[in-house]
Amino acid sequence: MAFEKNAGASSRGAPARTPLPGGRFAGNGSLGGQLVKIALLGLFTALGVWAVLPLYVAGNWWGIGLVVAVVGLVYWVYLSKRTVPAKYLLPGVLFLAAFQVLPVLYTMSTSVTNLSDGHRGGKEQAIASIEAYSVTSAEGAEEYALTVATTGSPESGDLVFLLTDSEGRAYAGTEEGLTGIDGATVGPSGRVTEAFGYTILSPTEVNARSDELQEFAVPTGEGTGIRSSGLSTAFEGTATRVYDAGCDCVTDSETGVVYHADNERGAFYDEDGQRLAQGWQVNVGFENFAHFLFNPTFASSFFTILLWNIAFAFSVTFLVFVVGLAVALVLHTPKLRGRIAYRVLVVLPYAMSSLAMFLLWRDMFNTDFGLFNRILGLEVDWLGDPWTARAAVILANVWLGYPYMFLVATGALQAIPRELGQAAQIDGAGPWQSFRHVTLPLLMVAMTPILVSTFAFNFNNFNAVWLITSGGPFSPDNPTAGATDLLITYTYRLAFNEATAQYGYAAALSVMIFLIVSVMSVVSLGRSKALKEVD
């Protein structure tokens, strides 16, 4: 504030030129500073060149444009004299934009699609994969010796089949088709052992990509293609399922079933509603959201989880606050012996690794070997019953969380003058009254933002639940949503821990969590002055 006033006063005098946005800083720094700047810019340029090369090889012009734009922006910001604030903000903002804002926007766009294991890529890919998958060998079909290779990196480059036919001629088969290659070295087993421009995959590398291999076929003509059988042979066969663009359908020549494309759901369906496994990604609008809000089974698990999620975050925040504040009050007396020792021991849980401690609590609750059952002589399945599991998760979190509150409350208590409490007591207030009406209100001024952020943190406290119960226990009639599941663990399981990855649903859930947290934060922060006083 004061700064603004100063700037205003000086410019009112006689502005020789418009003031630079950053204020009245000296034009140039020291020579050393300039050298560091040049070195960093040089390093950044090198990074840009490194980033462009693979994009150029792949012919990704949009990517190149983006890299050039970012490098240009950096040059402009650090060479211009009128961009002083940007010089300080740009590094953090670039990371923020690339790895937080962009993923958030991407999540939002994914949430209105049906992206999942059966719905990746476009329709052409789905058709190619359906046809390739259905190739079966015909009588007396040509057999090839096979070597799996790639033109890119062994983990993710495009697959190439290096094939040798019975006469020893070598071919390279890609998704586009079969081409002959000259100068390939063919080993004694009849397989290609070396070919210029191709990286041959080792058996382990091939194994790692066996799923892709299953769906890979080299098209050789109308409805015919070469597929692998095992890791070292391939055969030419005909596809039993063939796509016909005229009727936009796939016909299975063996069973005679016709599968019609449903371009709204992104898959081929027959008359009975059976679908082919390979589908494609389509826009489904708000269907994913509706799925969680209105579909009876999913809506009931969604709202149960949401309710528990709020109860969990609230009770952990409340208990952590009460315990932390109580301990701080007990220790808030100067003459207590062993105060330092108490403080160190009480803060100990906070200084331990929370990840390891969650796992430790899980094992202490173990039915057969756990500490609690052995000490108490019980055989309770703590984590197997919904309510004891919930209590266990809350208990572990209170243990980990109260030291932080204790530290914050101690700091806040020390900032409150002791005379205030003493004055209240002289006026006849009891200790409880003076705490309730003098200390606590003052304390809450400092603690409210901390409580809000603790609530928000615990609302999405993935580790707390995943590491102790993994969301369980699960009831037999609803194996996807557990009793201690938070929305975030539920989302994680949908995306990464189910048999089929449901990215569309998971993204929609993420967006809903975002909306819930924003509403709660706006309500709670709107009442504090934090937002109004941004200066």
């Binding site: 923020l96 937080q100 958030v104 999540t107 796992l359 430790l360």
Partner: protein, 301 residues
């Protein structure tokens, strides 16, 4: 209030031992009782993990609350049977690198927000708060899909690499921490840097020579918080690091007790202590900043 009549002479009051004891009990005694209970609650899991680490049998079922023996067998097992040193190095790399770079990036931004007036400043500050409501790990699906593509172009930042995950972590560098820092920067008198400017210091010199030494407590505390958060991060790491050798110690420990909960518990306990050591050490060195730093941003808010 009753006024003492000057004529009344009171016998010199002498406290008996019993009275003194009850006075002590009323003032301090109950505090000790409460604190002993709290300390017992705070310490017993830590005691258990230490005892399990020293337990020669190394199983969960044989571990007692109080150490029954002292053996290094679990530690030896952990070092020989698992890629412990690689895991540990990975954990420390992420924690230190992320803490250091985050503190730098966040302090730079906080300096601009605190000391300069520019267009979009208010929007930027509020935007930082808003983006906080969408925590990075909520976008995990998008990050996963993004890096599947990115890894094809740049294997150096793909899955199972240190740089890829570090980049993702750095996406969260500007966060609520920047607010906390800005609050602390605001408490440094503006006259200090203004007079330096008068003497011809550039903005970079003001930042590095004047501001940074004055705001060390908040830098230390943000570094500590980021360090703790990173070393305990599980979600993003579990999606990014799938290869055994690329895992962090936290992921490794999870895997260790996931498959063999009873038998590997001794090894897990050693690992848990090792994972806590860096945090304890950082805590120890930064303890004098902790109370000051934790409340600095809060009181302002």
């Amino acid at each position: 209030m009753a006024v003492q009549t000057p004529g009344a002479v009171r016998a010199p009051y002498k406290r008996t031992t019993g009275v003194r004891l009850s006075l002590w009990a009323r003032r301090y005694g109950w505090r000790h009782v409460v604190m002993l209970a709290v300390v017992a609650f705070a310490v017993f899991p830590v005691l258990f993990v230490v005892s399990a680490a020293l337990n020669p049998l190394g199983t969960l079922s044989s571990a007692q609350l109080w150490p029954t023996g002292a053996s290094m067998e679990n530690a030896v097992d952990l070092f020989t049977n698992t890629p412990f040193t690689t895991w540990y190095a990975n954990s420390l790399f992420f924690a230190f690198a992320n803490a250091a770079v985050t503190v730098l990036l966040s302090a730079l931004a906080a300096y601009a927000f605190s000391r300069m007036r520019f267009r979009g400043r208010r929007v930027g500050l509020i935007g930082l708060l808003v983006i906080q409501m969408f925590p990075q790990f909520l976008a995990i699906v998008a990050i996963y899909l993004m890096f599947s593509t990115l890894g094809d172009y740049y294997p150096a930042v793909g899955f199972d690499t240190r740089w890829g995950l570090l980049l993702v972590y750095l996406g969260g560098a500007l966060s609520i921490n920047t607010w906390m820092m800005k609050g602390f920067f605001d408490t440094v008198p503006k006259e200090l840097d203004e007079s330096a400017q008068m003497d011809g210091a550039s903005h970079a010199q003001v930042f590095f020579r004047i501001m940074v030494p004055l705001v060390t407590p908040v830098l230390a505390i943000v570094g500590l918080l980021v360090f703790i958060a990173t070393i305990n991060e599980f979600l993003l790491a579990s999606v990014f690091l799938r290869d055994t050798d690329a895992k962090t110690l936290g992921l490794g420990l999870y895997q260790l007790v996931d498959s063999q909960r009873n038998a590997n518990f001794g090894m897990f306990a050693v690992g848990a202590i090792m994972l806590s050591l860096p945090t304890l050490a950082v805590f120890w060195f930064l303890q004098r900043y902790i109370t000051e730093g934790l409340t600095a941003g809060a009181v302002k808010g």
